[in-house]
């Protein structure tokens, strides 16, 4: 699936959820379930700073595709982090760098991408895009 198709799938999943509780319970479940990052990568270097909830992000290039793993100490943030990874991980740096992320807004959690929220999701998205641009530049040099 393309990045856009995955986003459409998430939006469709959320559209059937009636109440805020359904939506949050789903996100919290995602946050609780997924072991998102190997402990060895939860280093200060991988920590996205300046956030109320902490987010760790690790990036690897495998077969021309970027693989993201991440974690957060807040479970709602972690659920959203896992959605973000589901959308972006496993695509080429170019696809990631040029991707327009609109699903967070569409599922009614736009405040999570507000700079005032300082929950790490916006910083994480920026960081993912920066990695993608950096890897793309590297690939172009080769």
């Amino acid at each position: 699936m393309t990045i856009q198709e995955i986003q459409e799938e998430i939006i469709s999943d959320f559209s059937v959820m009636g109440s805020w509780e359904d939506k949050y319970e789903y996100i919290i479940q995602l946050g609780k379930e997924l072991p998102l990052i190997a402990e060895e990568f939860k280093t200060p270097d991988n920590l996205i700073k300046g956030c109320q909830s902490r987010v760790w992000l690790h990036t690897e290039l495998k077969d021309g595709k970027l693989i993201f793993t991440a974690d957060s100490d807040a479970v709602i943030t972690k659920g959203l982090v896992s959605l973000m990874i589901y959308v972006l991980s496993g695509h080429t740096p170019q696809e990631i760098a040029s991707a327009e992320i609109y699903f967070i807004d569409a599922i009614g959690l736009s405040s999570h991408l507000s700079p005032t929220r300082s929950n790490g999701l916006l910083s994480m998205l920026k960081q993912m895009k920066l990695y993608a641009i950096a890897y793309q530049a590297k690939i172009n040099q080769q």
């Binding site: 805020w20 949050y24 919290i28 109320q52 909830s53 902490r54 100490d73 807040a74 479970v75």
Partner: protein, 415 residues
């Protein structure tokens, strides 16, 4: 609109009072707003909003300079606000009341001017472990500039100052003690009378950060005999960008001016500037005139409502809140002082404060989460932050019930 049972208590008509605050009538996420972030800022009664608007509509003009009618009206209103503030804290002279932009500016004024005139290497400044960053960083800067040392009064596990240690810390090197009256994070009410008496016994001046006290506790600066008192207008139902520094005349006269500019001068030549008298010496530039006037209106509103009645109702609310919150499974209070006002900080099981705050918000309940600008205090308790509910006299017991139910609901989703 929210249905609130008619509540008349301790001589206060809470239902009527809530009608004075237009913002409290709204819904958030489809639920009636329950506002428990009063420690961050309080809501404004209509009279304050009107006072600010009326200035711009009817007599906007610069103060202290114009010969024309509007300027005189504006100057009179601004100076009347100063007298209102002076009366509220019982200052001996309105000239001891300096308008600033907030508590932060007030503390920076004292720290900066003290450091220039009175601090040198070998001296020390005492603050406490529960200070807001705005009563830490200005003194760190003052100490860096002057070579003085910053010393910190420790606290016990309940979040109370260790007064024995404080007493032992007072020696001839100490040039000022700057502590908070009420902790913004834990709500601890510090024994300020004792602090002032102990410091004065060694001729050491005391600054009280009253940002979290002025809206809850009746303050008489002469009875306290405090040397400096700082607070913000927006936490006492006034506009943002307003604040007060009270200082004893003898101290304000001894300190050099803070910022240079218009209004703070008597005469200026390129060779020598003669500074203006108090309070203008510390009020360089055109001030927040509308804000200052509306701050006066906010204080008049409190005086009409009755600060002692407010204090009584808030104490009752606080007692009820603590009693009900204690019943929540897995709740842990950060700071559990015997004397408490305004704020309650807590954690529930191992739930991240951010998650709790977000699910409360979904239920229309506004609290604050995070370190509350007291990072050293969070480090002491070894936590990243807390959930903080902070009360005002317009809050009700019904709202506390909603908070408790909201926390339980959030916890059941998160655990």
């Amino acid at each position: 609109m929210e249905h609130v049972a008619h509540i008349i208590t301790e001589g206060l008509d809470i239902t009527q009072i809530r009608k004075d605050f237009p913002i409290l009538q709204q819904q958030v996420h489809g639920k009636p707003l329950v506002y428990f972030d009063n420690g961050a800022t309080t809501q404004k009664p209509q009279v304050v909003i009107d006072a600010e608007a009326r200035y711009y509509e009817e007599y906007n003009s610069n103060v202290h300079r114009g010969v024309h009618h509007l300027s005189q009206v504006a100057t009179n209103a601004y100076e009347k606000a100063r007298i209102t503030v002076a009366g509220y804290i019982n200052a001996a002279d309105p000239h001891e009341v300096i308008f600033t932009s907030g508590t932060t500016a007030s503390i920076n004024l004292v720290a900066s001017t003290m450091s220039r005139r009175f601090l040198k290497a070998g001296d020390s400044v005492i603050i406490s472990a529960m200070e807001h960053h705005s009563n830490i960083v200005p003194w760190q800067m003052a100490c860096e500039d002057s070579g003085a040392t910053l010393k910190v009064i420790p606290i016990n596990e309940r979040g109370e100052l260790k007064m024995d240690t404080f007493e032992a810390m007072l020696d001839d090197s100490v040039k000022i003690v700057s502590v908070t009256y009420v902790s913004n994070t834990m709500g601890t009410v510090n024994p300020v009378q004792d602090i002032i008496a102990l410091a004065h016994a060694r001729n050491i001046p005391v600054l009280l950060d009253a940002a979290q006290a002025i809206q809850h506790i009746s303050i008489d600066v002469q009875a306290l005999d405090v040397d400096f008192l700082a607070f913000s207008g927006h936490k006492i139902y006034g506009p943002t960008g307003t604040g007060i520094l009270y200082g004893k005349k003898e101290w304000l006269n001894k300190l050099p001016p803070y910022q240079g500019g218009g209004d703070m001068i008597k005469t200026v030549t390129f060779e020598k500037t003669i500074y203006n008298e108090l309070p203008y010496k510390f009020e360089a530039g055109t001030p927040n005139i509308a804000g200052g006037i509306a701050l006066g209106t906010a204080i008049e509103y409190l005086q009409q409502t009755g600060i002692s009645k407010i204090q009584q109702w808030e104490e009752e609310l606080m007692e009820y809140a603590m009693q009900e919150l204690r019943k929540i499974d897995g709740i842990r209070f950060i700071g559990d002082a015997a004397e408490r006002s305004g704020a309650i900080s807590f954690l529930v099981h191992n739930i991240h404060p951010f998650d709790m705050g977000e699910l409360l918000d979904q239920q229309g309940i506004a609290v604050r989460t995070g370190h509350h600008c007291t990072e050293p205090l969070m480090d002491l308790f070894q936590i990243p932050g807390t959930v903080r509910a902070s009360l005002s006299f317009y809050n009700t017991k019904e709202e506390i019930d909603k908070l408790v139910a909201g926390i339980k609901r959030a916890a059941s989703m998160l655990l």
